[in-house]
Symmetry: C2
DNA sequence: AGAAAAAGTGCAAACGCTCGCAAAAATAGC
DNA sequence: GCTATTTTTGCGAGCGTTTGCACTTTTTCT
């Protein structure tokens, strides 16, 4: 609003040094005599001086701010990822500008451009499918980008994920081994590259190998979608499903129970991304436990390196996941 | 990193106008001749000019950024609030810097000061209990603050909530009416002002009036806390609980069921803040449905007014809630 | 003690934009 | 056609920092 009350200039005058010296003290530059530093610090404290980060950003071209691009904050999957990111960001003194993309009110390019205009030092992208124009915008500004919990088919940016192919084979293998041979994938976005290029693809190959017909139910994103989908699954004779979102899995589970089906004896369910929701459902959901917090943390750490122009050793980091056998599958 | 490639100056030169005129075009100032505007816009597009928001912020003293202070991103309660905030923020072209406070690694004052140093135009505070020093920092920088889903005992800042006193009486009234007379409050933070000054206080008065002994179980924040608490509740002869967090409520519910208790016949549960989790649990949880999205949206709208120095009519906005009678309480 | 090296400090030009003011151009009024 | 208005433009001084460079002061080494 109005002019800042106390600036670096005031501190300089009061401490009888130049602005440059105050700046050095503020930034912890070691080339300052101890007595000078103490004098300046005393004045800073006395005057309640706080550096203006905007001016710092303009002068230094670094804002110590990173952008987070996320489809939906209220999805625990992204919330957990974000928490890992946030903790590491704090550690390295970065602030986080969060931008949710699902918001149809504005278009993605515009939103990301506005993020870039804020001169963020880096971006962690958790949404699906970078558009070409978004990539151009990143290129133009030379902003480092890391993908967390998602991949891009171009392989242009480093990513932190789990091995989706392996996880897919694991879960369907489990169902198959349990004697369920009419399996289905229930996914949210069929066009995201994680789903299209990994989960669905690996599933199709698995089906082919086992001589089963693949069943894919797309665009299921909330509890009710799941609840209502169950009727279709029953009609199609499905006896085992893997579900990308556990909220949807809960819907299916409850619908199956309400329909008098016996889970896991007649019908098995596995969710491919466990959140606390999975442990709440009864019977508790067998799930792939992705190390979401760690994925976020690793992604952020990676980004700090990129922002410092350090070398990174791996471009595609895959963290270990855990298949937690709970009560919606038979005990092995 | 390096110098910005194309600046307002380049556009000005190319379009044969002054920087001032380009600035006017960029900011939609109407005092520009149509032909001039078009010429400038053409150059902007051709050169891929994007205004540097940091420089704009320094020059104009407005960053079009607001700070969000939140205890925990992975708590759906805050996530839903944030979504409401985010949508309205987008609408008004504000970006959001999110700061989670629970993070014990750094202290709250420092975190908030760093937010303020970024020159945010306003803050939405969703955590509990502003500290005096935090308030001083807000005052010093003259930053408007709105509370969402929380209150401050000083009543210094506008807030958007539901009527916690009324909601408390509602839920305990319901349990009492159902014939449950050994009631308990299971809360997270017993010292937050919402809990201390409203929920617990109203509950104590209710107990006094009905001649019941109040039971308060504090510091219960996750599923396991809830699950394990059940044993104590049973021992203490409790036959009806209200729980602030539904994740905890789910823990209690499942423990009760596992213990062979009949819900709701012998034991009733109500959760005081419903999230999608409540509908997943079986039997589905009776809950107070707070209009979280709307609370966030209203809070953000309020903040935009404050940031524009507009008058606001109400200091404490209370939105209507709904008591949803589901399956963990007797049908009326 | 004197020279060389190292450490500490100041100067002032950026950084990219906004905005009050004054000047110029366009329009209106008669 | 000539003023009086109104609309468009340009000028340039900030906004609050950082940082390369040059200049002092202090320390180190013979």
């Amino acid at each position: 609003m109005h002019k800042q009350d106390v600036t670096i200039y005031d501190v300089a005058r009061e401490a009888k040094v130049s602005m440059a010296t105050v700046s050095r003290v503020v930034n912890g530059n070691s080339n300052v005599r101890k007595e000078t530093r103490e004098r300046v610090m005393e004045v800073i404290k006395r005057l309640h001086y706080q550096p203006n980060a905007v001016a710092q950003g303009l002068a230094s071209k670094r804002t110590t701010t990173v952008g987070l691009v996320v489809p939906d904050l209220t999805n625990l999957y992204f919330a957990e990822l974000s928490k890992g990111i946030d903790d590491i960001a704090h550690l390295y003194k970065y602030n986080i500008i969060i931008t949710s993309i699902e918001n149809q009110l504005v278009n993605e390019n515009q939103t990301i451009q506005s993020l870039l205009n804020k001169q963020v030092d880096g971006v962690i992208y958790m949404s699906n499918d970078l558009s070409d124009s978004t990539i151009e915008a990143f290129d133009r500004t030379n902003t480092p980008v890391v993908l967390a919990g998602t991949v891009d088919s171009r392989g242009k940016y480093p990513s932190v994920t789990i091995d989706y192919d392996e996880a897919t084979l694991d879960v369907f293998g489990q169902l198959y081994q349990d004697g369920k041979h009419h399996l289905a994938w229930v996914v949210g976005d069929t066009e995201s590259s994680v789903n299209r290029d990994h989960r669905i693809k690996a599933y199709r190959e698995f089906c082919q190998e086992k001589g089963m017909e693949p069943h894919i139910y797309g665009h299921k994103t909330n509890y009710h979608d799941g609840y209502e989908l169950y009727a279709d699954l029953a009609k199609d004779g499905i006896d085992g499903v893997v579900v990308t979102r556990d909220l949807v899995a809960c819907g299916i589970l409850n619908a199956a129970l309400d329909a008098g089906k016996s889970v896991p004896d007649d019908f098995e369910i596995i969710t491919a991304s466990a959140t606390p929701m999975a442990q709440v459902a009864r019977p508790s959901l067998t799930c792939v436990k992705q190390p979401l917090y760690d994925m976020g943390a690793v992604a952020m750490r990676l980004l700090t390196k990129l922002m410092n122009n350090e070398d990174i050793d791996e471009q595609e980091i895959k963290l270990p996941y855990e298949l937690m056998r709970k009560a919606t599958t038979l005990n092995k």
